[in-house]
Symmetry: C2
């Protein structure tokens, strides 16, 4: 049954390809290639292999690049992800097109946090709250915009429970697309406002997030969805490549060096797998020296299917029903879970999880030591980094990068208990009485 | 009475200077100079002239700079305000010290907004919501941090009702200072959380913002305040210089050219006067070609003392009791009001205001056209730009830059009415019925 639906989608999408890919210019992107069986198809708005239903990803032709020329070109590029245009599925003149232009966020040398955690080898926080809508989603949506433009789509869409809705709304507005985003109808008012302010259609679906997703799949196969690019469905192969830019930036910001260890959050697992892909590309292109690196995956205990599978030594991931404050990571059935397990094991990393209390503590720890106010997802990665040091899996003498993928302003509830340290009358006597002098 | 208090403060502060300025290295900053009478004093934590009580500002020695070498040095610098270290009161190695590193925010070419407003000469939004704590305050606090370090202060403080508290808390945490921020005790819980999360002391004062300020002035003169740097009081001359970086970045991002017109928000008026100072410096240094530019000031109608004075042709500003949703601009007695009037008149600009409804409309307009979700202050500048075009004061055929100084996530209440465009059941029939196909 599931296979049939996927096959239906794949062939429908393939039909669309035929009429749209003749003149597609997406730079070095040469084709789509199945991650499972290697079957190649032309670039188009397809996401599942017509042979084996495996996920399609971008295959590149980087053969013409000279390492030193490429490095110079990148370094002379704009202070955003388009400095890496030669490595992404986008046209060479992408920086001149209207887009949200995320990236080149700060890699913060976190010396205060390092001291608290006992890290001596150099600790860095890659702080993606600096993106235009303050989450890493801007990176992937910016890619989807360029693919949507290439394929002639006019409406940009997605299902979302938060960050992605805002990222799509903002990017669509800038780039001149209509947007229509689907969310569960009972989302918190604050999140609705953040997504609605960009003026696109924001449609509440009577049902939960799974119902929203199911409806979106139906819409893609219906004539009503013609001309619609769903950033994380029929544009997913392009969209997902945006996460590679995290790997590129981290290495360039370290002076074109691989870090020894990375701690990356896991929602669908796509981000972690694309970071690994990005690091491998840099090695193959000669932009960094080849050396071992370890990738660690971070989950919240209340949604830890990959962590559970990792610890049990399984190759497959058993779905969970999420129950955690880290809602942006709360995907109970992560599509790329098995690939994450592969990468953690191959690189000598691990997958770990922390409970909600540890998430909140880690948010406060990061804010107190580095002045970075992270979303709950950032609490997960910092909390997991701490736990991995404590249980000896993360080596504190090595260079370590921890990702913060979102902004604390979006998950204020998590730290709602934080408040005034004192209340005083407006005079010095009251100030002294409070012990503040 | 007022004079006496100011004189008292000035001489107290001067005492502190004597013991701290012997070995101060703040780069090109040569001295403090009174804006009114030109009296010079050594660099130190003073803010009022001991001769005439006028405001002190930084006097620089730029005489050794070669224009082309300076330009190259800047362009090779980091993607933050420290690329302009040679023009700021900071040591040359500032980029290596722990600080929040704001700036180099996007100058967005706002073609969609230009179309709606009828601007043909090129319209840009300088989007300072991309700073670490998502407001321009990070620029000024980053300067204050370096001054505090130079003067040996160990506690960083301020009075605040919002953005500044978060900026001080974050920067102090990163840079290793204790922080103690004073706010009115009845501030909204969300704002308290945003300021408290960085773990510094956050003290509620039983009283309004004026009471908080009065208390801070008392504390500066008391032994209990020894070692305390109040970013916008005894560190104000250094702090204020951070706003110059907006002028530098705008010109560099335009390809080392002056814009023809700028629309700048007015709270105390300091930002606008320092942007003018920054533009003048670039002209004198030969980094941009000298040509006329116009600076327009923007206020909310509910706090429009400078706009009222401008329209009445007055040189002085009559204080108002603020009542507007644009709380980050709600300073009823703006210290730099008279200087703003001077600059608007000298450059051929103007000062205008918009009401709260127009502020909200402008927030939505900017979000809908450019995908930028601005704080109410950004609604004020965009709304004023629109009004100035309508009343013929702003020339739509000229290159125009509008400032957005903060993030919409901090003033969600302003657009709380924004919501779902439709609610449907999770099927195509319901989708079609809602007219979304």
């Amino acid at each position: 049954m599931r296979k049939m639906r996927r096959k239906g989608l794949a062939s429908m999408a393939a039909q669309t390809v035929a009429s749209t890919t003749n003149s597609v210019d997406l730079g070095p992107a040469a084709a789509l290639s199945c991650r499972e069986c290697g079957h190649r198809v032309p670039l188009g708005p397809v996401f599942a292999c017509e042979e084996c239903f495996g996920p399609l990803e971008i295959a590149y032709d980087f053969s013409a690049y000279d390492t030193e020329e490429l490095r110079k070109q990148i370094e002379a590029g704009p202070a955003n992800i388009w400095r890496y245009a030669p490595l992404l599925p986008v046209p060479a003149d992408v920086a001149d097109k209207p887009n949200i232009n995320p990236g080149w966020t700060q890699l913060v040398k976190a010396d205060n946090l390092a001291r608290e955690l006992g890290v001596t080898g150099g600790l860095y926080v890659k702080d993606d709250s600096g993106n235009p809508t303050h989450s890493f989603k801007d990176r992937v949506v910016a890619q989807a915009i360029e693919a949507a433009r290439a394929f002639g789509f006019t409406t940009l869409s997605c299902s979302s429970t938060g960050n992605l809705a805002g990222a799509v709304g903002a990017a669509a507005a800038r780039a001149g697309f209509r947007s229509c985003v689907f969310i569960p109808h009972d989302l918190e008012q604050g999140k609705v406002v953040m997504a609605a302010v960009y003026g696109g259609e924001l449609v509440g679906i009577e049902g939960n997030y799974d119902d929203v997703n199911r409806f979106c799949s139906e819409l893609i196969g219906d004539p009503a969805g013609e001309g619609w690019g769903f950033v994380n469905v029929n544009l997913r192969p392009y969209y997902a490549e945006g996460s590679k830019t995290l790997a590129y930036e981290i290495c360039e910001q370290l002076g074109w060096q691989l870090p020894d260890q990375l701690v990356v959050p896991i929602a669908s697992g796509s981000q972690l797998t694309k970071i690994d892909k990005g690091l491998q590309e840099l090695i193959k292109l000669g932009l960094v020296e080849d050396k071992p690196y370890k990738i660690f995956g971070a989950q919240a205990e209340g949604c830890s299917p990959v962590s559970v599978a990792y610890k049990a030594g399984h190759d497959v991931v058993r779905p969970q029903k999420p129950n955690t404050i880290a809602k942006s990571l709360a995907i109970g059935n992560p599509a790329d879970g098995p690939y994450v397990l592969d990468i953690a094991r191959r690189t000598g990393g691990a997958v770990e999880d922390v409970n909600d209390e540890q998430v909140v503590d880690a948010i406060k720890l990061l804010a107190r030591t580095e002045g970075i106010f992270a979303e709950t997802a950032g609490g997960v990665t910092v909390g997991v980094a701490k736990k991995l040091i404590e249980n000896g899996l993360l080596d504190p003498t090595l260079t370590t990068v921890v990702l913060n993928t979102g902004d604390g302003l979006k998950t204020l509830d998590a730290v709602a208990g934080t408040g005034l340290s004192a209340t005083i009358r407006p005079n010095l006597e009251s100030f002294r009485e409070a012990g503040l002098a």
